[in-house]
Symmetry: C3
Subunit: 429 residues, 3 copies
């Protein structure tokens, strides 16, 4: 895998996040389309449009939501809340509305956080028809009595749910699935970080020859993964592992949340990669709450897919205006990218072989695989790697199993397995 046209830098990822930040995304609408079109500039993403009303498992594709403008004017006529300044101000999926009302009546439509008084909260109402505005509690407290004018120039009408899909065929039809949600408006860590890391990973995977096929989904949260699963049921059995990417730009240590299965190859591999990385990390058992692993790990799907993040959801800046471009950095995005790249590299190496001369050891010397002068009391890693691969390659042990049992890195075992294949001592199953 040397000499590939890797290197997406952290700066490139950060610049993409800066460009995507102002766009007002939701689970449907033009913001999602614009976002995907920008991603298409670098990778051959296919953009799928699923019509409103399409049944997807227990759900139905909702009407498409778009916003032209939204604001609140105070009794003096001043625009005090303005969607164009920060799209978090508008309750996401607000129905269209125009009207004038007293403060008391307006208050029923205002969302704020007394415990974080200087931050605008991020709120949504996808499946209940409402309108509303979000604002800092510090601002809320200063609102004078009087008549307020409200405009929400949004539309909620038949259209499409839009998502992006990139399939990178490999030698095998079996797939590794990578997904991230694309439904959050101006939030940097919770959303953009996952998008830019997966775009970088897509570029890496497109630049090399892979054993596995890879599928990368840029989808709205919940409804998006349910939609993909419902429309692609025939492909689900091909997916042998995967990760839901999110929260990858902040400074927290890595957090890996295991799949529902808990001890699948994916689970053990990601833990192996983290253990052997230079970074601190925490591994957590599956819980049925979080990102789209909820859908991929629902009991009728039950894929070996985990969620690999930096922070976990619920950090202080989560779903507030503080989750902005200052909260993430090029440096941290790059670290996250490197760990994701390490996961797919190790996934590629995690093969199972059979020793073709399984009775007794093969005579390594006659194949140039043994040090010429025997009897020396020191043994070398490469020699041990040969012996471990031959001894445990019985069709049941993966390279990960052998790495864990031997203490020799998967990379070294991989090298040795290539050597043993070339000497006709090993064969993949």
């Amino acid at each position: 895998m040397a000499g590939t046209i890797d290197h997406v830098t952290g700066e490139q990822m950060y610049k993409l996040a800066e460009r995507l930040f102002p766009i007002c995304r939701s689970i449907t609408g033009e913001g999602v389309r614009q976002t995907l079109q920008i991603l298409q500039e670098d990778i051959p993403l296919e953009i799928r449009e699923i019509p409103t009303g399409t049944p997807v498992f227990d759900w139905t594709i909702p009407r498409e939501w778009n916003v032209k403008d939204a604001w609140v004017k105070d009794p003096s006529g001043q625009k005090i809340i303005d969607f164009k300044k920060n799209n978090l101000h508008l309750l996401n999926y607000s129905i269209p509305y125009r009207g004038k009302m007293a403060l008391a009546q307006l208050k029923d439509h205002l969302y704020y956080m007394p415990e974080k008084p200087d931050l605008i909260p991020y709120r949504t109402s996808y499946y209940t028809e409402k309108w509303g505005f979000c604002l800092a509690y510090d601002q809320f407290k200063t609102l004078p009595e009087g008549a307020y004018e409200v405009l929400i120039d949004s539309s909620l009408s038949d259209g499409h749910l839009t998502y992006g899909e990139l399939h990178i065929p490999g030698d095998l039809e079996e797939e590794f699935l990578l997904t991230t949600h694309i439904c959050h408006p101006s939030l940097a860590n919770d959303n953009l970080s996952g998008i830019v890391v997966l775009q970088a990973l897509a570029k890496y995977l497109l630049s090399i020859k892979n054993r596995y096929s890879y599928r990368i989904l840029f989808i709205p949260g919940t409804i998006g993964s349910i939609t993909w699963l419902a429309l692609n049921e025939g492909k689900i059995s091909r997916i042998k592992g995967g990760l839901v990417a999110s929260l990858l730009g902040d400074r927290a240590q890595f957090h890996f949340k295991r799949s529902r299965i808990g001890d699948s190859d994916l689970d053990r591999l990601v833990e192996y990669v983290l253990t052997n990385s230079e970074y601190p990390y925490t591994v957590m058992d599956f819980i049925p709450y979080g990102y789209d692993e909820r859908q991929f790990c629902s009991p009728g799907i039950n894929l070996p897919m985990g969620n690999l993040t930096r922070s976990t959801f619920g950090y202080p800046e989560y779903h507030t205006s503080a989750d902005n471009l200052q909260f993430i950095s090029a440096n941290e995005l790059e670290k996250s990218y490197l760990i994701y790249r390490a996961v797919v590299r190790h996934w590629e190496m995690n093969r199972k072989f059979v020793n073709l001369i399984p009775k007794g050891e093969p005579q390594l010397g006659k194949r140039g695989l043994y040090e010429a002068i025997g009897g020396k009391s020191d043994s070398h890693t490469i020699q041990m790697a040969i012996l471990w691969v031959l001894n445990l390659s019985d069709g049941h042990h993966s390279m990960l199993d052998i790495a864990i049992r031997s203490g020799i890195s998967m990379a070294q075992l991989h090298q040795v397995s290539e050597l043993l294949i070339s000497k006709s001592l090993l064969s993949e199953i």
Copy 2:
């Protein structure tokens, strides 16, 4: 299960123990019949009579033993050991005897404990024909030389082995079995405590509608359980769990001795109940010694039945005249009852379900099961309970499994499962 005509109090249990205490019980005889008749006053116990000579597995129902009187008179003609004062004085199952003899000869028939000089031991000789008396070592030491007169007005003749059985049918034919021994004479903790707690539990189970059927056996130790098993082989496979009740009136912490299987649903459930109780407890692995779990856990029977006690056998007062009504209390009997009741309540709740919409999450919002405003970072227990039950209800996970994995109580999960059944999202298997 609210609104049931529970509350048997500890005082009621203690009063019953007081009434039963003076009766001379053994593995057969009138004492057992009297005891069961007293229990019949409150619960519809069926009294079974199995004739002497009936073969039961490797054993045979012995002759029935009854005692009218028994005493020893010293050389001065004074009655110094008197069965009527304490039935422990007579070696249980002593053959009839009348005679006069020197002290040296009498001593071959006396049982005492030099290490507990002020207590009368409890001794039996069911299957070897003997006669004898038990007395305090302090008394034994003072016996003067001379001729002693001995009377044992007992009978050992063809009759019956008697036990009590209560079957409480539930929705399922599958049973939970509760047993206690009834063969001890005036001993309070070792025997009466188990009898009064199971009688209270019977009253509770009779007062409510149960999913499982319950069977409660009041039986003589060893021969009684062997008899029931031998005569009811066809019913054994219905028993899905059970407890042998004994030693439930003293102040020791709870001790749960696992079944021979060790990790059955019963074992895990009792441990769960104890862990979530307010009381200290110890869990012990099965050993083939103790109470009737020895029979229920013999290799050819191997039922998931444990033994849940306060003290374990062998405590200082065990099988002595110190195991009397002062050794037990209403308060401790009540605690024991509450734990037994908790076990059957949780046993009832320990069901397995299948999620009827297993692919992706069902849309909770449209069923009124989701908080209306999304995006809030705090999740509530009820919401998590819904997600856990839906996620793990794949037919393989019991409510106990889900409780252990989620950290949410079985009671809360039970509530949620009823809610999900009502919304057609869940079905019992």
Copy 3:
């Protein structure tokens, strides 16, 4: 097993080692034959001769190597390296050579250890045609410039590979396999210790009646075990456990290296014996490097065979002239023998039974197996052993399983099982 004509003493083992020490052994040749003939004086060993060129799995029986003399003379004509003084001086399997050369040219053929300057290393070149001499670095440094004369009067020609095999039939066709290598020249711990301990064990096993059959192999390392396996494939499935014996004369604690299987009966039994011995020990997982367990545990053979040693290979004296008769002692050889004997004794005891009266407990009293007076609160080990054996003898639990679960020694359980067999309560499966 009392009263057997055991006692091989440590002194006898040490004396045998002294006698075998000077012989120049290799993987073939007269040294091996002489060694086996000396062993034949005490045990009816069969000596097998396998012709050069015979294919054995991936290997071929090599040409036979024999040496008459070998030396190096310095420029002054003095014999400074002499095979007859220490056979380690000659690179084992050196081809014949006679010549004169400058020091620089000679140096290409000299082996020494700067890090252990006073010791002669042990080196071999079985499968690459070479000649060479081994010497202490202290001597190497003093070699003057000038012309050296070299003689290696060895022969490398068609002949045989020789090994010794002793089959001791028992009641069962199933076998326990014991092997040691016999290919090392004058090295005491690494080789002779294994030979003399297995010879002692053979004498013990020949002196008693055994349930299992035993097979003891005295074979050249690697090629010897591969040869035996290749020529006896039909017998491999009879082998239910075994040990590779080596490094048994030094003062280190015991080291048990598990089989590749890791939790076989053999693995658990050896650990049990060590745990219950008076000696300190370490248990190590299998690695595919070491002695002939490499072959017996190759993936296509995968026998439950471990390696039980004192030191592990790679100790400071390993493969040097310091591994001599002073490095081992009679006392340590005897300890090693006792542990090996304990392993086979426990192996013999590790049977599986079925309780013939599995439903409820059998009535022990009528068979004289129960203390006459019941109700006593102390239980005795023998009584508990009876109950444990009856309770767990369901065809699935071995005596080792019962010993571990009950905490009662296998020896006591063995006694009790014989008693229960005599009472028709137990039957072997």
